[in-house]
Structures are given as C-alpha cells and as structure tokens.
Symmetry: C2
Subunit: 439 residues, 2 copies
C-alpha cells in the first residue's frame, strides 16, 4: 500500500473545509443581474437579509456561529481565477458570445464579497445582513444560502459513522436515479427540457456536482439543459442557465417615488433588461407583486418577450393563464417559453409536462428536490434535520427604503406590513391564493 504522505500532511493543516471555493460557485443569473446593476445602478446601496422561513428549525442551535463566520470569511477571500475568467469571456451563453462586457469582467476580477453582519437572535435564528453597493451585496445571496444549507447538512452528518454515511449517499444516489429514470420515461413520451436550479438549497457542493452529473448523463443533451451553477457548468462542460430574480422589481419598486412610478416599476425592469440582453434571456418573472396585475397593466411589448417564469402559482394553472394572455394578445403560445421552477419534484414535473406539453414550449428549472432530497436516506432512523429548509436571502432595503415582495402566494410576502398594504392597494390582489411553502 502506497500512501501519499504529502497530501495527507497537507490536509492536516486545513483549518476548515471551505464550502465556497470559487466566485463562479453561484447562480448564473447573479452574474447577469450584476452586470445590469453594474451598468445602470452602480450608485445604489441595497441590503440583503437571510430569512429562514422554516421557523421550527432553530438554525443557530444547529449551526455553530464560529463555523458560520469562518465559512463566510473564507468566501470573502475567494477571487476570480485566470482560468475562470478565460472560460467566462471565451464561452457562449444562450448562444451569444462575450455576453459579459470587458468593464464588467474587470470589475469581477477584482471583486471580493463585501462584509456581513451576523448575530444570533433569541428565537434561535441567525440575523445575517449584507449592506453595501447593490452590485456587491447581490453577490452574497447564493453563497450565503449555500453555506447555511451545507453547514446544516454537515452538522447533522457529524454524528454519523463512516458506514452510515456510505449508506446515506448510496441511498440518495439510488433515489435520485429513480427520478432520472422517471424523467427518461417522460422524455420518451415527448419533448422535455430539464436543468438544475438547485445551488442555493443544495445539500452540499459535491452532492450538487453528482446530481448535475447524474442529470446530464441520464437525460442526455436533448433533454438536459444545463445548470444554474456557473462553476459546475464550467467543470462539467455544460450550459450555464438562468435569467433574473425578484430583487430587480423589488429594488425598482422601492426606489419609486410615487404610486404611478411604483406601478410602472416592473416594466421599467424589463426595459432595462432588454437594453442588456436578448433572445432566451427575455423571460418575464411576473409575480413580484402579483402576476394577474402584472399582465393586466403590461404594455403591449411585454407580449413580445420570449417567455415567462411563473414562480408562485400552481404550475399548470399559472402556465394556462399565460397561454390565454398570449392568445388574447395575438401571439402564438407555441412560440413562447415557460420556465417552471417553483419547488418542483418528479411528480409535479410529470403532471405539469403531461398537462401542458404541446400548448407551449416548456423548460423545467429543478431545484431543491434535485440537489437536497435525502428524505428516507439516513440509515439510522431520524433524518428530519436532513430535510431542506425554506431559507431565502432577499433584498430588505434599497437606498434606505424598505423592499417588498407579495408574489401570487401571500404566504411568501416580505416587507413591512404598511408597505405591503400600500403595494396591495397599488397592484390589487386579484389572482392571489395562499398556499403553504415547503421549499
């Protein structure tokens, strides 16, 4: 038996096992949004804050605060490598070369994550805020969530033996592969497009890497669309996918000076986005303040966008509303693209695709249930803490003004109640329905 003594000794010297090891270990849409913010909103200051909606899981009891600080501190030391920059600038994204402009790449090369503000609250949760220039604080969302979720996994698994861990991962692999096989059957029936959107809620980086590899290998390039994780897209030689998020309309809305500007904010986001991107990147994320109101007040040109990502309505119902709207606007829904991305698992992917296939182009952004489904996998009974939690990192303030999100599911609403009430007055509450939030 030969032992690689140097490696073993080098490993001894690790202070921590870093979770975030690359600036690109984030979702692609953060880079797209950062570039737009870099170009149009460099002066804006935005505060992001982490909220664990799974209140019963007292994260601050599960995760050691010192370990959390070490991981956050380490993430702040990570910078873009030469090889990553070459890949980012030389690669084609959504069929377009040089999607990132030289000035933004210069900025990204020098970028380090800004400081954070962490404290433990009496209710057993962490308060974790990021305050600073929007283009910097926006970059914390995904690494902060990935760190929290992986530290939780590690805390649960710390008490497992070598053998228990072996069985745990064997079962998780077998379980995920069952899902892949079901998707293969679904793909055999007709068109199917599935990609990974699971970075933020992943069990851990290496597990996400396995899951994406499984999806790529199992579905093949006709079905597998890629991963939202930029680093994994680079490593696994696949597409980086994703467009934009609620923070854009939320910040734009917070910065509105009048109710009229507030009502216009969601469309101003789209105009600005169009000035940066085109084609399949023109996907409306309509639900920040209610999808029905969004469509009702939308200017005519919104119907020219490539598609939409319904994110808080039941997928079939949400998609059919879009189809009806495009019809009413004289557009052919079969030319339009719907991205399904709200807490899907194989059951809901199957039912949605079977119900909607043929009526519209469909793509699935599969998240938490792809990268963090360990239910029933722990060999010795209790794996409750291995279940994913509904933790998010949302904009709280923009230039000192509170940010609000309503969505189509008021259970997901965030912001001060007075502001929520004002938004509901301006946008109305038509088409909203309360539904429990799982992930």
């Amino acid at each position: 038996m030969t032992m690689d003594i140097a490696t073993r000794v080098y490993n001894h010297t690790f202070k921590i096992d870093p979770i975030i090891r690359s600036v690109l270990d984030t979702d692609f849409y953060k880079l797209l949004m950062a570039q737009m913010i870099f170009k149009l909103h460099r002066e804006r200051r935005v505060t992001f804050g982490v909220v664990n909606r799974s209140r019963t899981v007292r994260l601050a009891d599960v995760i050691d605060e010192r370990e959390l600080r070490e991981q956050l501190d380490h993430a702040r030391t990570v910078g873009l490598t030469k090889g990553e920059e070459i890949w980012l600038t030389g690669n084609t994204f959504y069929g377009r070369k040089q999607i990132f402009e030289p000035a933004f790449v210069d900025w990204l090369r020098a970028f380090r994550l800004p400081d954070y503000d962490l404290r433990r609250l009496p209710d057993g949760q962490f308060e974790l805020h990021f305050d600073g220039p929007w283009v910097e604080t926006t970059m914390w969302e995904v690494p902060a969530l990935a760190i929290l979720n992986e530290l939780k996994s590690r805390a649960v698994m710390r008490h497992m033996g070598r053998f228990e861990l072996d069985v745990l991962y064997a079962r998780a692999k077998a379980k995920l592969w069952e899902k892949v096989e079901r998707l293969r059957h679904l793909a055999a029936e007709g068109p199917l497009k599935v990609g990974d959107f699971g970075t933020r809620r992943r069990h851990g980086f290496l597990w996400q890497q396995w899951a994406v590899s499984a999806l790529k290998d199992g579905l093949g390039e006709e079905v597998f669309t890629g991963t939202s994780n930029v680093l994994l897209a680079m490593r696994l030689d696949t597409e980086a996918i994703g467009t934009n998020a609620h923070e854009l309309p939320m910040v734009y809305a917070a910065l509105a000076n009048t109710d009229e500007e507030l009502r216009e904010a969601p469309y101003k986001v789209l105009r600005d986005w169009e000035s940066c991107y085109s084609g399949n990147l023109l996907i409306v994320l309509p639900d920040a303040f209610g999808t029905t109101a969004f469509r009702r007040d939308a200017p005519e040109w919104v119907a020219d966008w490539t598609g939409a990502r319904p994110d808080s309505k039941p997928p079939i119902e949400g998609t059919r509303e879009w189809i009806a709207w495009w019809h009413a606007k004289g557009r052919n829904p079969k030319d339009k693209l719907i991205i399904l991305s709200d807490g899907l698992d194989v059951d809901t992917i199957e039912s949605s695709i079977r119900a909607l296939r043929g009526d519209v182009r469909l793509a699935v952004g599969w998240g938490t249930k792809l990268t963090n489904d360990f239910r029933g996998c722990a060999p010795n009974s209790d794996d409750g803490l291995l279940a994913p939690i509904s933790v998010v990192c949302k904009v709280i303030e923009a230039d000192g003004r509170p940010c609000v999100k309503i969505s189509d599911n008021p259970e997901k609403a965030t912001g001060p109640q007075a502001e929520i009430d004002r938004y509901l007055r301006v946008f109305g509450s038509v088409g909203m329905a309360r539904n429990p939030v799982e992930v």
Copy 2:
C-alpha cells in the same frame, strides 16, 4: 491537486487485477476439512470439477478463457503470509484456541494451489477439473468459484461507464441495506443470528467485503455471527464461521467397498470429525444421500451432536423434522442448533425464523442473496447477466471411483446414473422432493 504519481505508475504495470490475493480468501470450512483430510486422508486422490447448473448462461462465451487462466494461474502463486499465519494460529475459533495444529500450519505455509485442467466445451461451458491429493484439490473449490463469478461480473460491467457503475453500486448498497433493516426488525422481535456464507457466489471480493461490513455494522455483535470468509474475518475483526461440506460423505461413500460400508459412510464421517473437533463445530450435514434415510439409520450418538444444517429441504419443514427426531431421541431441541443455509434471502429468513423461533436454536448462513444480489440495480436496463448463476465445484472421483450426491432434492443429484441408482437402492428415496434450484 496532488497526485500520487508513484501509485499511478505502479498501477500501469499491473498485468491483471487479481481476484484471489490470499490463501485465506476461502471459506473457513475448507481449512477445517483440509486439516481433517491432512490428518486422516493424506494419501487420497480426489478430483473436483466445476459444473454450471445454469446451462442457459454460456460461461465460456461470457468469460475470456485467457483471463480465466491468468486468474487461476495467479491464485496458484499465492501463499500464506506471516501475518496471516500469526492470526490463524493466535486467534480463537468457535471459542477454542489453536484449532489448527502445528503440522497442519506447516503444511498450509508451504501450500500452493495445484494445477488445473481447463477446456472449453462445445456447449459454451468450461470444463474445469482439479486432480491430485485430496488435501490440495479441496482447496480449489472456493477460489475457483469466486474467480468464475467475479470474472462474469467483470465481463458484464466492462461495458458500463464510470457513472453507470456508480449508480449500480449505489443501488446495490441501498438494496442490501433495506435487507439489513428488515433483519434489524426481525431481531427486535426475538433472537436472531445471521452470518455470511457468500464467498463462492460473490459478485466480487470488494463487494463481499462491503456486504459483510454492512451486516456487521447494521446488525451488531448480538445478531451478526461472522463470515465464512477467513480473510474477511481477519480484516474486519469478526468471527470465521462454518463447519463441513458434502465432499466428506461423498468421498467416504465412494471409497466404501460394500453396500454396508456405503450405508455406514455418513456416520464414519461424523466419527472422524469428532476426533478433530468439538462443540459448535459438531453440526450434522445430513442430506448427501437423503436426510430421512440419514436419521433413520443414524446411531444413537448422532443425537448428541450440537445441531444440524438442513441444506436441500424447505427450511421450516426440514427443521421441524429435526425437532421431531430430537424429541423422539429424548433430546431437548431447545438445546440444539439448526443452521439454515440453502439459498435464503430476507423473505425466507423472516418466514423461517418467525415459524421456528423458540422451538430450537437457529442461525442463518446467508449466501448468494447477500453477496450477489444486483437484480434491478443496473442503471441502463439489461442486467440479466448480473444475476448469480448456480455454479458449483464438486468431488467427481475419489481414488478413481465416481462420487455421488443425491440430496433431498434430486434436482441437485450428481454422479453417474448407475451409481445414483445404487445409492438410491442402498439409502432409499424416502423424504425426497424435486424442487427447482435457483442458486
């Protein structure tokens, strides 16, 4: 990333990946029988032959003859190491120290597997014979079978990708662990003893090692009795288990000069065994020529033996017959030990244990379905060839005379028909029933 260049380069130079790497990679009962043969039958010449009872699997089409020769040749180079000898002589087996006498250990130290005779038959099977002194040829049984079974596995898996193999083993681990959990439930209801008897039919050495580790870790030392594989018992720090096999009565019977001596042969085996071993090693293997006849003609002292291993009758029925017989002989069955070992899986283990628990002491020798159950585990459909085959290595001749086995299931009968007829005349066929042989 540090690479251990020396290891990698050393690996380049491997001509083959050897299956048998230790003299102790065999079943414990082979060593016990070899010592008895060494002491009492050194002059006997016995021929062993491999028979694949799964005729539809054309082994010689699946396994490359050159590869088979390389593995058999390699096995012949392997000798007892110093460390193995120290463990074998210093260890306690079945509660007894120094079970192997110095003269036998001297012999084992110098032992190498004897030559073999291999050819390809027109029906797609191999003819593989081992001819020579009994004490030497007996040692081929387990390595020869392990080599054939692992080469078959390797041939099937050669076409699988890195990822397919990962899923295959993940599923196999998950599948085996489901079984372990069922056995834990069974153990929670009452006494349970389970050990590994799966060396010969194993999928591969490393997989057997994982399976035995899983059993040890999952069942705990109250339930897990150990492994028949001596090398694994040493490596995994557990008990080596097993007693004796059909070759003893088969050779004794073949050497009988009269029908009367033939009828006495099974009991002469027991007398000789008693001269070597005691306690829990006194387990009758009664079915070589029919269990019912064996008990009918058994001398009174046979009822003093510790227990029996019914190997070819349905386990519940076979055990109840023993219980009735011990009752009739005035012995308390609750003091007696039944080893169940005939093609069991969790279903049959559960039903047998639940039916018999409390009436007799029970121990399960779990074989093929422990170490080679990959049904449904291959990621891309067809895994038919991963199913275990019913391949055996049996005595054919002893000092030039044909050997016969009848068992309680004439489907398992081996030997020339004229001799089978003679044995059936001498022992009768009471209590026999034809049942299909799976493994």
